[in-house]
Amino acid sequence: MKRFWLFALALPLAAQQGFDFKSLDKLGANAKDVTNITLEGDNLKLASNFLGSDKDDQSLKSLVANLKGIYVRSWEFERDGMYNVADLEPFRAYLKASQWPKIVEVKEDGELSEIFLKSSDAGKSGGVAVISAERRELTIVYIEGPISLADVAKLSGSLDIPNPDVLKRGTGGASKSNANGKKDE
């Protein structure tokens, strides 16, 4: 009981400090493929500066211009039931404590999708978070910073996002990694 109260008291404080994505690492313990992306602050600005100058790239640039951080965790598994959905609870609890209301919840054949939108002023949202739990794939997207609903719609539409695997030929590499956390070259 004492532990529960300590946890309950610590949650609002943790909400102010930002979510510790390392706490989700155990979800990928049995994963075949892991995608682990954290982009925040100067790194996010640097990434934005390296986008091209055509119309699509400019559109992406304006989309990420004011964002504070983008965090993506995605795990692919070889078989069904290789992760425990309950391990997502710290993330859900953080979203609840930080006042990110759930705006979408869809369940279908053992799959679950949830979208959370942080409320903010001036017709813009303060961020968007997505949990997609499929049988063999689990994805968490957490985008923090002012983002309009039009941008969210753009992100969920037929946005032409260049494939970094195609771009990296002769340049850098994307952060797609295998289960050991090593980059796929």
Binding site: T35, I37, L39, N43, L44, L46, A47, S48, N49, F50, L51, L60, V64, I70, V72, S74, V104, V106, E108, E111, S113, I115, V130, S132, E134, T139, V141, I143, V152, L155, S156, G157, L159, I161, P162, N163, P164, L167, K168, T171, G172, G173, A174, S175, K176
Partner: protein, 102 residues
């Protein structure tokens, strides 16, 4: 010969050997040239090193920044693609559910 004469004889000024001046003049400039040579060589090496450093360090910094930029851009594009795929998948699930319930 008393002690006074012996002292005077001992302290009497002697003329230098004929080639003394030439030997001294030969020795002095030679020594000076050697030290100058070494000093100049060290200075030249230090200058060359500084020039190489001044040329290489900014190039390495620029290259490193470019590499980090490309890596960050690729990460951003991957993140946006995953977001796009996930949101589209959710949208499809919503459409299927809506169709089923109507």
């Amino acid at each position: 010969m008393n002690i006074e004469d012996r002292l005077r004889q001992a302290l009497e000024r002697e003329a230098a050997p004929a080639d003394f001046k030439r030997k001294v003049m030969q020795a002095v400039p030679a020594k000076k040239n050697v030290s100058l040579f070494w000093w100049n060589r060290r200075l030249s090496l230090a200058l060359a090193f500084a020039v190489v450093l001044a040329a290489v360090v900014p190039a390495v910094i620029v290259e490193n920044r470019h590499r980090r930029g490309i890596e960050a851009r690729d990460q951003l594009l991957t993140a946006l693609r995953v977001t796009n795929t996930t949101l589209r998948h959710t949208k499809q699930m919503i459409h299927r559910n809506t169709r089923r319930s109507s």
